[in-house]
């Protein structure tokens, strides 16, 4: 087996003889817009230190100070959970390229998760789609894998370096095709020799 950076990775349903070659998440810029809400929440939290003095200056009792501390703490817990929900949605949304297939695990919030797979020999065409100034500048975009079967296309959404991924998938697919040709020729040769011996 080849030594890859993903040797220690393992996903549910991985076969014993299957090796992970690539693990892809959406590009970091894609999550940045979602993390903006966390930034705003933290801004509110830290801003509250100044704002409470302005708006609730009359309430200086110890009980009121405790209430403010309690509300801040509650708000921080809420921010903490929101951060992890966004992160889980990002990190667990993953495309795994192995030496046998492509696995797409789609995480939708905390309560929805779908897994689909595509065997490498079923790939017919791979196309990349990088649109816009920021995606071009940061080199991220979509990658579409077309299959022979009439099933829906396999879409890698907003992945980093889609051209390199395309090259890898094409290489793997060609390797698979070549392997199939070799196996077919060997089988044919065996059959010819077997028939010749019998005659």
């Amino acid at each position: 087996m080849l030594e890859t950076p993903f040797t220690k990775f393992h996903f549910n349903g991985q076969r014993e003889d299957e090796q992970i070659l690539l693990v892809l998440h959406r590009h970091w810029f894609d999550i940045l817009s979602q993390f903006f809400i966390i930034f705003v929440m933290l801004l509110i939290l830290f801003g509250s230190y100044g704002l409470t003095a302005v708006f609730f200056g009359n309430f200086e009792s110890a009980t009121f100070q405790k209430l403010i501390a309690f509300v801040r703490n509650l708000f921080f817990i809420f921010t903490w959970i929101t951060f992890f929900i966004i992160w889980i949605d990002y990190y667990f949304d993953v495309w795994i390229v192995t030496d046998q297939r492509i696995v797409n695990i789609e995480q939708d919030g905390l309560f929805a998760r779908t897994t689909s797979e595509l065997r490498l020999e079923k790939i017919q065409d791979v196309a990349t789609d990088v649109k816009g100034v920021i995606p071009t500048f940061l080199n991220y975009g979509n990658l579409e894998v077309q299959t022979a079967a009439e099933q829906e296309k396999f879409l890698f959404k907003n992945i980093p370096d889609p051209y390199a991924v395309k090259d890898l998938i094409m290489k793997l697919q060609k390797k698979f095709e070549h392997q199939e040709d070799v196996e077919f020729t060997e089988m044919l040769n065996k059959k010819i020799h077997h028939d010749g011996d019998e005659a």
Binding site: K8, F9, H10, F11, N12, V23, N58, F59, S61, T63, F64, K66, L67, A69, F70, N73, L74, F76, I77, W80, I81, F84, I85, I88, F92, V94, I96, I105, Q107, L110, F111, R113
Partner: protein, 74 residues
Amino acid sequence: MFYFVLGLYIVILLTFVFLYAFIIYHLVKYSINASLNRILLPFFIIISTLLLFSNILLFFSIDWNNLFSQFFIN
């Protein structure tokens, strides 16, 4: 009035605990990177537990009856 606030607080608290449990479940069950899990899981559990306990302590440190009387007088 205190019991009304307490009831409301318990609902919020249970929602947080439920979400914590789901986050931990996802990290344990679906993470593909075991080494990241070894760092992230204790980090999340420790911080979350500290936050939750500090929140419970803060809640019970407030004299709710006194607070309500202050609000109604003001």
